[in-house]
Symmetry: C2
DNA sequence: TTAAACTTTCAAAAAAAAATGAAAGTTTAT
DNA sequence: ATAAACTTTCATTTTTTTTTGAAAGTTTAA
C-alpha cells in the first residue's frame, strides 16, 4: 500500500469509527487528518482534502475545539488560522473521557438518581423499578468514578492500568 | 414524581443516551423498558408502550437479541413470544463490551495495523504518519486488551476494578 | 390441510442529521 | 475609514438513518 492510499484509508476508517460512537463522521475525519499532519493545517486545506464546504469545516473545527482536542494556531505573517490536533494519546483519551462524562454520563446519572428515589407503593412493579434503576445508578456512578480516577493519572494511565489489571 | 412519569423519563433518557453512543434510540428504549419489567413482555405491549410499529419493534428486538442482551421467552399456553432483558449489570456490560470490541474495535485495529506498516520513503510526512498510526494501534490494542481482561472477571468486575484503581 | 395467530421482511415514506453556500460578521493592514 | 482577507452563521438542500405497514413467511391447533 502506498502512502496516499494508506492516509485515505486511515481518514475514512476513523470517520466510520466516529459514526459508530456517536461522533459526526466529518468531525472524526478532520481529527484524523490533523492527527497525522506534522504541520498546522488551514481550513482551506481541510476543505480541499476532505472535499467539504467551508461551513462544514468551520462548524466541525469549532466542535473539535469545544472538545478541547484541536487548537488554533497563528503563523507569523499569515492572516488565516491554522489548526493542530492534540497528538498525545493519553491526553486525548483523558479529554474525550472527561467531556463525555460531563456531557452525557453526568446528566444520565442525574436522571437515574431522580427516578430511583421516587416514593413507591407496595406493587412489585414499582419496587422492581426503583431497585433496578438504583442498581443502574450505582453502576454508572462507579464506572464514572473509575474514569475520573484513571484520568487523574494523566500520564500513561492506560499503561499503568494494564500493569494493575494484568497482574 | 409518580411512577408513570419516572418510568417514562427513564425510558426516554436511556434512549437519548443510546443515541449519543451510536445506538438506535428505539433499540435503547426497548431495552430500558425490558430492564425495568418484572415480567417478560410481548411485542404487542412494546408497540403499545412506545407507540412504534410492528416492523420497528421486530427489527430492534432482533438487534437486541443479536447483541445477546435480550432473550425470547415462551409462556406455556401462549402462542406469542415474550421478551426479557439481561438484568445483571455486570453481565450486560461484559456483553456490550465484547460485542463492540468484536464489531468495531477489532476492525479498526486491522486497519491501523495495515496503514502503520506501509513502506515509507524518507519524507517527514510519511514517517510521522507511520509513527502516529503505530502509536494509535498500540494504544487501541492495549485498551482492547484491558477490556478483554476485565470482562474475564465476569462477576463484579467493576467493583473489583474500583478496589484496584482506588487504592 | 387449512386457517388463524403470530413474526419477519423490505420497499417506500418520514424523520433526523449533516452539509451547503452565500450573506453577515470580524479582523487587520493601510 | 475602508477594503481585503478571512471566519461564522443559518435557512435551505442533501444525505443518512429510522420507521412504517402491508405482503410474505412461519408455526400451531384443530
Amino acid at each position: 500500500m502506498e502512502f496516499k492510499e494508506a492516509k485515505n484509508k486511515f481518514v475514512q476508517s476513523w470517520g466510520a469509527l466516529g459514526s459508530q460512537w456517536g461522533i459526526n463522521k466529518t468531525m472524526a475525519q478532520i481529527h484524523a487528518l490533523l492527527m497525522i499532519s506534522t504541520e498546522a493545517v488551514s481550513m482551506e486545506e481541510i476543505m480541499e482534502e476532505l472535499q467539504i464546504s467551508r461551513g462544514n469545516a468551520s462548524m466541525n473545527l469549532r466542535a473539535l475545539m469545544d472538545w478541547g482536542i484541536v487548537y488554533k494556531e497563528h503563523k507569523p505573517g499569515e492572516r488565516k488560522e491554522f489548526f493542530i490536533a492534540e497528538k498525545d494519546l493519553d491526553e486525548l483519551a483523558v479529554k474525550i473521557a472527561k467531556e463525555r462524562s460531563k456531557r452525557e454520563i453526568k446528566p444520565a446519572l442525574k436522571v437515574l438518581k431522580e427516578v430511583s428515589t421516587i416514593k413507591t407503593n407496595k406493587s412489585e412493579e414499582e419496587k422492581h423499578f426503583v431497585e433496578q434503576t438504583g442498581k443502574l445508578y450505582d453502576f454508572v456512578l462507579k464506572a464514572d468514578n473509575v474514569l475520573d480516577k484513571v484520568t487523574e493519572y494523566k500520564d500513561n494511565w492506560l499503561a499503568k492500568l494494564v500493569v494493575k489489571i494484568m497482574k
